[in-house]
Symmetry: C2
Subunit: 295 residues, 2 copies
């Protein structure tokens, strides 16, 4: 017996889950219909297209998380400030008008760094909540990606987090600088990735290390097929060294391929990590949905 | 009475100088004909097009510096290892076949960083040699740009140097990431540039600071017209803090507008600098040419 529909609706993709009371995924739909691909005003239509069948079968509750709650999304849900856990998030859901179901939006979380510069996330908070059982109330979660998030968890709440622009910086350097001219696409070359991670520990700033990607290639010490993997390791190595709190296991949440690379870099830096399964978003939606007032 | 033609021939531009024995510039030609814009095999033709008149008037010596001596250039001049000064460079010139004049190439300089990663420069060595009179034999030269160079000078020779990919990283981030979507082009907003420089001194890695460019914009704390200048200050601030040796005046060599921004960042970091005049390349060519064997 399903009790809720959960939707992880981000910038580039749409993923819907039909969820049991215990969070089990009874059905799923996904489509490359992230909010950037939805014409203005067609959010309700797109939602109905994917989950209309489940609604016809009796579902009445839909919980949305991700960039769908941003200014560029369906309805803007104001950010909730850290620290926040499932209870605070469930109490701050935003209702979205929709015929035939009660639709609610999960708010993103805001924070400020040590210098008072704002932090924002939308969607990752739901994945972290979904991984809380594994994290057991206290620890560190890392969600690698275009804008990697490193969150501290205490007492089952997200207390603070920091963002690193690593993924987007990789793409920008790969496709927008002279470094990319020596790079070929293909699967990650792990020894080259490891060399990049090790390079991040050497003296010199990232901006200096970046030039070395070129000179190692010119000197015949880095092959074209290795160069992109080395750059990836260099950036991830810098991120892990800057972001990882010492002595705490890192819970990696996200796509397995990228999480595996982060796990590798964390090990190389002397840390420990584990990769959570990819349904953290579904579990987070179920956990928040169970605590919510649906009236 | 002129005695030599000097040419600074880089990736994107061609600059020729008719030089007196004392290095005075008696005539100049420039064109947007960097080596990337020269069809294969047409280097001699392009050179003759710009300096043929001077050759007809009796000049017989042409000294070339810059990327024209790279694998993608006219003739490849092997790198000379640091430390090297005008004497070592003059002794390592490479002859280029050319009818009607003796044409020589200045070799680039190679070095290795503290971890053994190669460094390369082509053209900057000539500008540094040209600024040696100002540097008075010992000091630090900084040549800001796509690939910024920071060189230590001792006893009139370039002893070692490090490269930072700051300029290219700025362009890649500006035009290839979400940060750029909030940016407008225009003259540098100095207060925003200064804020970026100050941000570089705050806790957190560059990859974290980069995300702040976005969040400050979202929070209304950084205007669209300020955002690119802030990013520029952030990157230059990181570079200056990583590259500047404490207690030494920095001699800035290059285009005045960019050098002025570096001078501003160096001052903000508690350092001192001076901007050398823009004819350093011409003076360097004259100094090297005077020491060369032209037989």
């Amino acid at each position: 017996m399903a009790v809720m529909i959960g939707v992880d609706w981000g910038t580039s993709s749409f993923r819907a889950f039909r969820l049991a009371a215990d969070g089990a995924v009874l059905g799923r739909r996904s489509a490359p219909q992230g909010i950037l691909h939805i014409e203005a005003g067609r959010f309700a239509e797109t939602l109905r297209q994917h989950v209309g069948g489940w609604l016809d079968e009796g579902e009445t509750r839909v919980l949305l998380a991700g960039m769908v709650g941003s200014r560029q999304g369906w309805v803007e849900a104001p950010y909730l400030a850290c620290p926040a856990g499932a209870a605070e998030i469930a109490a701050a859901l935003v209702a979205v008008p929709f015929e035939g179901a009660r639709v609610r939006l999960v708010p993103g979380l805001s924070d400020t760094d040590d210098s008072g510069v704002p932090e924002v996330m939308r969607g990752e908070e739901t994945q972290i909540i979904g991984a809380l059982t594994e994290i057991r109330g206290d620890g560190v979660a890392c969600l690698p990606g275009s804008h990697s998030k490193w969150a501290r968890i205490a007492g089952g709440r997200i207390t603070t987090y920091r963002t690193y622009l690593s993924g987007e910086t990789f793409s920008a350097l790969r496709y927008g600088t002279i470094l990319g001219r020596m790079m070929t696409d293909g699967p990650t070359d792990l020894p080259a990735f490891d060399r990049g991670v090790a390079r991040a520990a050497e003296p010199g700033h990232l901006l200096h290390h970046l030039f070395g990607v070129r000179t190692l290639g010119l000197a015949g010490k880095l092959k074209d097929v290795e160069s992109a993997s080395y750059l990836s390791g260099l950036l991830i190595g810098h991120e892990v060294r800057a972001a990882r709190p010492r002595g705490l296991r890192v819970h990696l949440i996200g796509a397995m391929a990228l999480c595996s690379l982060y796990a590798r870099a964390i090990t190389a830096c002397g840390g420990e990590s584990s990769v959570e399964d990819e349904d953290a978003a579904a579990r987070g939606l179920a956990l928040i949905g169970r605590r919510a007032q649906w009236n």
